[in-house]
Amino acid sequence: MDPTGIFDIPNTSLIFWEVVTFAILLFLLIRYVYPPIRDMINNRQARIEEAIDEAQKTRTEAKELLDEYRRQLDEARGESRRILDESRKQAEAQRTRTKEEAREEGDRIIQRAREEIDRERESTIREIRGEVADMVVTASSRVINQKLDRGEHDRLIQESLDNLEASQRNGGNGGNGGSRAGSETESGRV
């Protein structure tokens, strides 16, 4: 054997103890050390995989839920828009109808007022006519100092008034623009 120890073949003591030591080391490590480390790593790996699967599942679920909510929200939005449109339309219709009704009512009231006025005028004219006739008879009888036949007088006055009215109608009716204007001229003339 090389006395320097640099090329120590065969170093029997080292070879012997190496084989023994390495065999024992191998046995101890493979028997007592590697299994718990392997189990720990495998367990952790399994746990991590489980956690990842779980997270993925949760994520998928959350995504589905989100999609569902979005869909519902869209639906609700559409629904609300529809309701709003409808109510707007209804309100518009209501307004139009109310306006229409109000106009009709107004027209009706005006119509009624006009008829009332016409009626009043008729009766007033009639009264005034009677009064005028009486006054004329009284005045005439006073002037001519003689009692005329009442019936004859009435007839004459009525006739002259009719004539007057007829001539007036023939001469004045051409300038009448509307019914209201016409009635004003008439009442003003009377």
Binding site: P3, T4, G5, I6, F7, D8, I9, P10, N11, T12, S13, L14, I15, F16, W17, E18, V19, T21, F22, I24, L25, L26, L28, L29, I30, Y32, V33, Y34, P36, I37, R38, M40, I41, R44
Partner: protein, 268 residues
Amino acid sequence: MSTMLAQMNSEELRSEIIHTWEVGQDVYLELSLFGIDISITKAVIFLWIGAAITFLIMFVGSRMLKNRPGAYQVIVEELYGFGRNSLGGLMGEEGKKWFPYTLTLFIFILVLNLIGLVPNSFPVTSSISFTLVLALLTFVLAQYQGIRSNGVGTYVAAFVPPNMPAKPIMVPFMFVIEWISELSKPLTLAMRLYANILAGHLLIFIFLSFILYAGGTNTAIGLAMPFLSVPMGLALYGFEVFVAVLQAYIFAILTQIYIELSMYKAEH
């Protein structure tokens, strides 16, 4: 090393440089088995220290495993993971069953390489006997696995490539060539680790021994030597740490590859 180089002859200097390997053979306890010397030497003591440290590092790590690992547990688990994922199964899933062996080999050699760098220790892996035994173990295991996986006939036949021309001449020729190649595997495996660690340590000692020129007869060299010797020694020491890891890895992965090559011999 109190003497100056100027006062030393070359034999004394040589013995200073290889001092480590000389004291590696110091016998602490004389033992023999069937006439074979199995004395407890310094080398054997450091072999045991290396084995003990290897075992303790891994054993303590395996006994304090927690669900939330600390730094130490991460190291131990990473070592195991390195064995399982990087060493085992290089050529096929079946090769994975050998990783406990190669992983043990890796950690053991790594620890021995590193404690060999501690001053006054003995670098066990710089002993050719040590590395050769591990390499021969690799060889034996590779042959065993090759025969077990392929059967004796197929395994032996697989040493000759199929479809050879001039069969009567080429088949024996190739058989011999292939066997030489097969036998050179453990030899190179042993030599690589041994030579790397030995050369590394020798280089460190050689550069450190240059300090003996300091203050010598030649003034220029005497002044320059401390600035060359110590930094180079340090640099090589740092490099040796890297070599320690690298060589342990190479030894382990080559062992795994040789075993797996035998395992799938017939398929190639």
